[in-house]
Symmetry: C2
Subunit: 217 residues, 2 copies
């Protein structure tokens, strides 16, 4: 890939900063040593016809390069990983993809559900009735994941693209103490977040939000 | 792949029959012309140590073959598609994977959310307060998907593995009229469900449930 541009939202409220999914793509590119430029779409512009031509669902991230346009954080990270043995060893392709789908389709849904409940619908009557059940569903997944990590520093023993998706999925419940209830999981997230590539990706996403912050009324 | 066995649940209640995710794997194997045997785990056995050795989250499907054990419906279908040009043309690999992640990480979550609300928590107080919002989120995704299918019979023009995941995701809200509100989407689902491979997969999943049905009390 050459001349890479990554689209994210120009600004999001603090509760979402560091969680928007372009972080996954930035992180993968940093791990792979591939330089890129940031592009921003305003949340209010996401459903314009012009932006919908890039992304049919009006979402981020979008990756543009000399090879074309890619959407879906899972697929973009996989495409980057195909060019970088550190992210996906050729002998571990299907295993890496398995845990990428595991992160996005098995672990993320209940965690995202709790994020939506606590952060997007805070204070609504239904959330008080539903929250305990939603937390139980999160704990079920975290307990199983923690057991898997019992004898592994990373999902596949060594760091792969799947850890990028899993770590960023687990970050959706950073506003709770649920991950901390599982010491192995807590250590896993901290291990992944300590990687220089993650820190660079997060710093650059946050810098863009500061640059694009709305002027206080 | 040789000597393939696919694990599903031995029996599920009627509202879930035809929706359990081993259907995706059965469908892909039928499209690829790969014979397989069915294996069953009881819902009550899913968290036993023996089954957890196959699947760390105690879920289905699991595919066992002479090449090893695979989990996660997305990854299993991808592995099958790699052996079958009809499911993934070599020139459309990343595009197919993009729409596979799109089906499971962008379209499925709000649909699954409505399924859970209507089918697993029916009658609970919070669902009455939450349902209208959950339906709106479903409609947003369906509208965007319908627009994408405006000039396409399948997600990528021709049938691919992504259509297997998208069709089975859309089936999670078969208890509603929401898909029927989008004629293009409705036609798309019917087009996919009319494929002989889908019908064979569904028939075999249902046959297993009949065979394993609990004796009436």
């Amino acid at each position: 890939m050459e001349k890479i541009a990554v689209w994210g939202f120009s600004w999001v409220p603090p509760f979402a900063q560091g969680l928007v999914r372009d972080l996954r793509v930035r992180w993968a590119l940093e791990e792979a040593g591939l330089p890129y430029e940031s592009r921003w779409v305003g949340i209010e512009e996401r459903n314009t016809e012009a932006y919908r031509r890039k992304h049919p669902f009006g979402m981020v991230p979008v990756l543009e390069s000399s090879e074309g346009t890619l959407i879906e954080s899972g697929a973009i990270v996989y495409a980057i990983a195909e060019q970088c043995d550190k992210l996906m060893h050729p002998g571990l392709r299907i295993e890496t993809l398995t845990w990428m789908f595991g992160a996005l389709n098995t672990v993320e849904p209940p965690l995202w559900n709790l994020f939506v409940l606590d952060q997007l619908h805070q204070g609504e009557e239904w959330t008080k009735l539903r929250r305990a059940g939603a937390v139980e569903e999160v704990k079920l997944r975290l307990a199983a994941l923690s057991e898997w990590l019992d004898d592994r520093d990373y999902l596949l023993g060594r760091f792969t693209a799947a850890d990028i998706l899993m770590t960023t999925a687990l970050r959706f419940i950073r506003h709770t103490d649920l991950v901390a209830e599982f010491p192995l999981l807590d250590a896993y997230v901290k291990r992944c977040e300590a990687r220089p590539a993650f820190r660079a990706a997060l710093r650059d996403q946050m810098t863009d939000y500061v640059r694009n912050a709305p002027v206080a009324a």
